[in-house]
């Protein structure tokens, strides 16, 4: 496949995103095909276009304050002890 993006790069991204890819060829080929298709963006002639974002002043946003919620929700979790959720080891 004529693609500037290497399989290794795609594998590396999958790893960084913490995704195990089992059917390796199937995934890499299809992701490759998609990225190849995106090359059409090169012919759009938009290099000089400015990206404008809509400004929303802070005053328009909801007040950033704590709203009490159902504190019994934690009891619905399976891996918790008192107020702590049990997570896997970091190392």
């Amino acid at each position: 496949m004529n693609c500037l993006v290497s399989e290794e790069e795609i594998e590396q991204v999958a790893k960084l995103m913490k995704i195990d890819v089992h059917d390796h060829k199937e995934f890499v080929d299809k992701v490759h095909a998609m990225i190849d298709y995106f090359d059409i963006l090169d012919s759009a002639g938009v290099d000089d276009e400015e990206i404008s974002m809509q400004d929303i002043p802070l005053s328009k946003l909801r007040e950033d304050k704590y709203i009490a919620y159902d504190d019994k929700l934690i009891e619905k979790l399976n891996h918790y002890k008192e107020k702590y959720v049990r997570a896997p080891k970091m190392m």
Binding site: V5, E9, I10, V13, A14, L16, M17, K18, I19, D20, V21, H22, D23, E26, F27, K30, V31, A33, M34, I35, Y37, F38, I40, L41, D42, S43, A44, V46, D47, E49, E50, I51, S52, I56, K60, L61, R62, D70, L73, K76, N78, H79, V85, R86, A87, P88, K89, M90, M91
Partner: protein, 481 residues
């Protein structure tokens, strides 16, 4: 009992005392149990629906104030949260997720005494356009069960078109309401971005997605919009529509209006039957007193690539929360180190979700963002400028909703690019924030064709008037199930 009635007819019948909400809901559930084995529109059916309808009948009998829906059975796409019920997103990742809160649209419909008969099937996390990517199997097109119903809100469209409910709510990120509505012969509506709150809609691509109704008639869409639109403090992207009444004046017609026919959406590869339906729709519009002219939106050629780049990027970020620590499923932590635990848990994602997450990690990454993500944002910007300019001279823009007819289940599932191109006519309204509607317009070889109309932002009311006018010019055969 006639389950084929529209939402407005249902309200009238209940108000006149000709039917009760309980009987109608019971018959609706009976129909679901009879035909849904074949169609698979639903992932879950609400077994309390009849009891809930009975409570609404009691309110009616006692003279208590009753909401505008009068116990109307509605289906909800399974990526919209209903408190204390499962919301799976058609994913094994959320197989047993019980939502702890109601989406804003659900709260609003509950206040209006709607009855939710069930959660409708979709492509996993709304990523797809056939429902073939649902982890629980595809829905089938009620017109011909060998064919796809469209997606991702395929279950919603099937449930409405086959009279398993009166109306449905779906979500539209790149055509996910309009595409299945077109394939199933229903009305599908993508409102102006911000018109309906997304609070409680499980996020896929926040910057462009919207909740939208799928109904049997355009008037029913206007009726539902009256109930679910408006500002929401839980969604800062919502827009104040000043309590707009979308139903009043819907018969206004389109005499003297100017309509642009988007040339880039009627391209080589368009099915001859779709082409012929489009020409016929143009004649109908002219017959109604509108003027139709060709218009050009050059950026449409690049819109699908821009759309998939932007949505994959946002999906890569949104789906990072499914790590089994924030969201996920019951899976013991013993024996796993942090990263391997998350990787292992994520194997429950289906293949399309994994592909889009990988894409979403790749296209905005250092070294590639300039070539892909930033360029996609620039295409989005230029497309918006182009459509704004064209809409200065035209009231509406039209094109077929999908350039091809529904295709067979399995026919395109292994070809991502072929699937991409099915979206070519629908993504423009998402990328530009404009409202768009698919109106059932023709049936060819026993399969429906929808016609799409777009309008300027916040011109939803006017758009519904045009759609209602077009709808009045056609009489389609009944769905054969």
């Amino acid at each position: 009992m006639n389950l084929k009635i529209s939402a407005l007819e249902y309200v009238q019948e209940v108000q006149n005392g000709n039917i009760s909400a309980e009987d109608f809901t019971a018959k609706t559930l009976e129909r679901i149990s009879q035909i849904d084995d074949k169609l698979h529109a639903f992932l879950q059916v609400n077994s309390d629906a009849v009891d809930q309808a009975r409570q609404i009948d009691k309110k009616i009998k006692s003279g208590e104030k009753v909401g505008a829906c009068y116990g109307m059975p509605i289906s909800i796409k399974d990526n919209i949260c209903i408190k204390n019920s499962k919301t799976t997103c058609a994913s094994k990742m959320l197989e047993n997720f019980i939502s702890p809160y109601d989406a804003t649209v659900i709260s609003k419909l509950k206040q209006e005494d709607a009855v939710f008969v069930g959660k409708a099937n979709l492509d996993e996390f709304a990523m797809g356009l056939t429902t073939e990517f649902s982890a629980y199997g595809p829905s089938k097109n009620p017109w011909n069960q060998d064919y796809v119903p469209g997606g991702s809100s395929g279950g919603s469209a099937v449930s409405v078109a086959s009279h398993e409910c009166i109306a449905s709510l779906g979500s539209d990120t790149g055509g996910s309401v309009r595409n299945p509505a077109s394939f199933c012969g229903a009305v599908g509506y993508k409102p102006t971005y911000g018109l309906i709150s997304r609070y409680g809609l499980i996020s896929y691509a926040n910057s462009i997605e919207q909740i939208g109704p799928i109904t049997k008639t355009v008037k029913d869409t206007a009726f539902l919009l009256n109930l679910v639109t408006g500002l929401d403090t839980n969604d800062d992207t919502t827009t104040d529509n000043s309590g707009q009444d979308y139903l009043s004046g819907i018969d206004a017609g389109i005499e003297g209006k100017k309509i642009g026919i988007i040339q880039e959406m009627i391209v080589e590869g368009t099915d001859p039957a779709v082409l012929s339906a489009t020409k016929n729709a143009i004649s109908k519009f002219e017959g109604l007193g509108a003027t139709c002219e060709d218009v050009s939106l050059d950026m449409v050629k690049y819109s699908v690539a821009a759309y998939y780049t932007i949505t994959a990027t946002e999906a890569g970020s949104n789906l990072a929360r499914y790590d089994n620590l924030l969201y996920g499923y019951d899976f013991p932590v013993e024996g796993y180190e942090f990263n391997s635990y998350i990787s292992k848990a994520r194997t429950k994602f289906g293949p399309e979700v994994i592909r889009r997450m990988i894409l979403g990690g790749f296209v905005p990454s250092a070294g590639h963002a300039g070539k892909y993500y930033l360029k996609a944002l620039k295409v989005k910007q230029k497309l918006t400028e182009e459509i704004n300019k064209v809409l200065q001279g035209y009231d509406y823009l039209i094109a077929p909703t999908v350039p091809i007819l529904p295709f067979k289940i399995g026919e395109k599932i292994d070809d991502p690019i072929a699937l991409f191109l099915v979206d070519i006519n629908t993504v423009t309204s998402n990328l530009t924030g404009k409202p768009a509607i698919s109106v059932p317009f023709a049936v060819s070889n026993g399969l429906p064709i929808g016609m799409q109309i777009l309008a300027n932002s916040m011109e939803d009311k006017s758009l519904l008037q045009a759609a209602h006018a077009l709808e009045g010019t056609v009489k389609l055969p009944e769905v054969p199930i």
